[in-house]
Structure formats: C-alpha cells, structure tokens
Amino acid sequence: MCTYHTVTTTVDGSAKGPEGSWFHVTDAAVYYDHPVHAMAGHTLNIDLTDPTRGPAARVALELTSTSARELVAAIQEALDAVPAALLQS
C-alpha cells in the first residue's frame, strides 16, 4: 500500500549526491512506503534535499524497517558518545 504518511523536517549539513558532487542539504523527508530500488515491498525511505537546486539535488535511502531502526540506534549511540563540549547545533 501507499502509506501517504510523510514526516518532513529541516536539516543543515551536506550530502554527496548525483555525479559524486557534494551539496548543502536543507530538507529531509522520511516515510515508510514502496521503494524504487530496494528488494522489499516497503522500506523506510529518507530523502535529503536542497529544493532550491531542483528535484535531482537529492540523496535517497531505502532501508528495511529493521535496518532503519538499527541506523537510528547507531546515530543515537554515536551522538551520545560525543563529549558535550564538542556538540554543535
């Protein structure tokens, strides 16, 4: 099914995108729906984009639900391990 549920947020960082070039990303969309490439019926999909540069300025991830949760945990663990003095917004 198409879940139609999309969570969007702003981000500030960079991603390596089409043709191997880095670009600044400002937006993220997160949704659980049909993947384009991953061999699964549904995946947790993340689009990191810069809408001002057009639709192709996008880095896309399609992760199984298990691996998405593992990634969330890994991100959390990595952030938790950072000394407070090093954390920058």
């Binding site: 099914m1 198409c2 879940t3 139609y4 549920h5 999309t6 969007t8 937006d27 969309a29 949704y31 729906d33 049909h34 384009v36 061999m39 699964a40 019926g41 689009d47 984009t49 809408p51 057009g54 639709p55 192709a56 996008r58 896309a60």
Partner: protein
C-alpha cells in the same frame, strides 16, 4: 488488427488549463477505437507505467498517461519528481480529477476515437481511478489494489478522506483487482467497497487473488505474482472490450 504502434511524449491541457506532460501510445491505422487513461502510481511517471501505456496500445486502444508531477518537477527523473511532490504534500484530489479529465478529453478528440474512454490505476492510482470515475464521464474504470477507497487514511494525506461519500456518484462500471494478502486495501475493505457498490446498484466486478498482495502487477518488484497478473490482464482486456469496444 496490427500490433504496430507508436509512442511519444506530448503536452496536454490538465486541471485549471495547465499544460502538463503526458505519455501517449497509439496503434497504427485509422480504425475507430476506445481510449484508456493510465494513472501512474505514487512512485511516479516511470518506465513500468509507460510499459503499461504501450501495452494498451498493443491491445488496440489509444492510451495516455498524464504526468501528475509535471508542475512541480518538469523533466525530473521519476523518482526525484515523486520525492519532491511527496515532500510538498502530494497531489490534491481536485487536481487529479482535472488532469484525468484533460487526458480523457484529449483521447476523445483524436480522429480515431470511438467516443469511449476508460481509466485504470494501480496502488494510489487505483484510488484515483475510482475518484475520477465519480466525477468524470468515463465509460469504464479499473481499480488495481487502490488503498483508501474505503478505510481511514492517515493524517496528513494529500486528500480529505476515503471515497465512501463519493461512491454513490460513481458513473462508470468498475473492475476491481485485489490481492488477498494485501493489508491496504484489506479483504475487509474490499468487501466493504463491494457492499457499498451493490447497495447503490453500481455495476462492478471484483477479483481477489490467492498468494498475492499489494502491487502484484509490478514486474520489477518482489511483489510480482505472475498468475495473478496474467489473469488480471485477461480480466482487464475483457472488461475494456465490453465497455470501450475493440
């Protein structure tokens, strides 16, 4: 009937008079024939959908798929366009009806048209095919596992709700093709749709397949089920021959 056909990208007039891109496939020859509007699924105006458009031309119909994402993402790759439109909130129902209406009018305006036009959609397009048939003078509609014709959509969906309140306005016979293992639409939701259409004396024909879930027509996805898809294509052919001619 010749199996020679041609396919190309064109511009048509969509909702609100907007110019939008569309993919057109037509059999060769001047004989009169029906038309089919193909609504692409939420992942976009992609290769798989265009293959279906050409298949309808091979079956003897003039077939046209409007690019529902053209306004937001002209000339973008289908997956990038889908991502952009999703992040922006999706395609509103009113605009969808206008775009399908534009495609319908284009097909009826072809010199080969016999005046009859059907619509088909898969997944999100299945719901949109039913929606279009509630508002436009179409001659046949095919809903392939469209979610939220009945049932409750999530908050934040690009449409106001399911189509239950609009089903009494359905103007075309409906063919529904579903997988028994699907969860949206679930067999219970399909049964509810069947009951509503029966109660409103709306002509419809439903087939639900064993060992098939959502997206069983998608030949490039793990959900593909050859037996269900082959039978489904046969049902579509019979249904369109009955209602569109050919």
């Amino acid at each position: 009937m010749s199996d020679t056909l041609s396919a190309r990208t064109i511009l048509i007039e969509g909702d609100n008079g907007d110019e939008i891109q569309a993919y057109l496939a037509r059999p060769d020859g001047d004989d009169r024939r029906g038309g089919v509007v193909v609504i692409h699924h939420l992942p976009g105006y992609d290769r798989g959908t265009k293959e279906m458009v050409r298949r309808f031309a091979e079956m003897g119909y003039d077939a046209l798929c409007p690019n529902l994402y053209w306004r937001e993402a002209p000339n973008a790759a289908p997956d990038d366009a889908a991502a952009k439109v999703r992040a922006a909130g999706g395609v509103p129902d009113e605009r969808l009806v206008g775009d399908v209406g534009g495609a319908m009018a284009y097909l009826r305006g072809l010199r080969t048209s016999n005046g009859k036009v059907g619509v088909i959609g898969h997944c999100s397009g299945g719901r949109q095919a039913v929606l279009a048939a509630c508002h436009l003078d179409l001659d046949a509609a095919v809903d392939c596992y469209g979610a939220f014709v009945t049932g409750t959509p999530p908050e934040g969906a690009p449409f106001r709700g399911n189509l239950v309140d609009q089903l009494p306005d359905l103007r075309a016979p409906l063919l529904g093709l579903f997988g028994k293992d699907d969860v949206s639409p679930s067999p219970e939701q399909v049964a509810e749709l069947d009951e509503i259409l029966t109660r409103n004396a709306k002509p419809h024909e439903f087939h639900s397949y064993d060992d098939a879930g959502h997206a069983f027509f998608a030949t490039d996805r793990p959900a593909y089920r050859v037996a269900a898809a082959n039978d489904g294509w046969e049902r579509i052919g019979t249904f369109f021959r009955a209602h569109l001619g050919g």
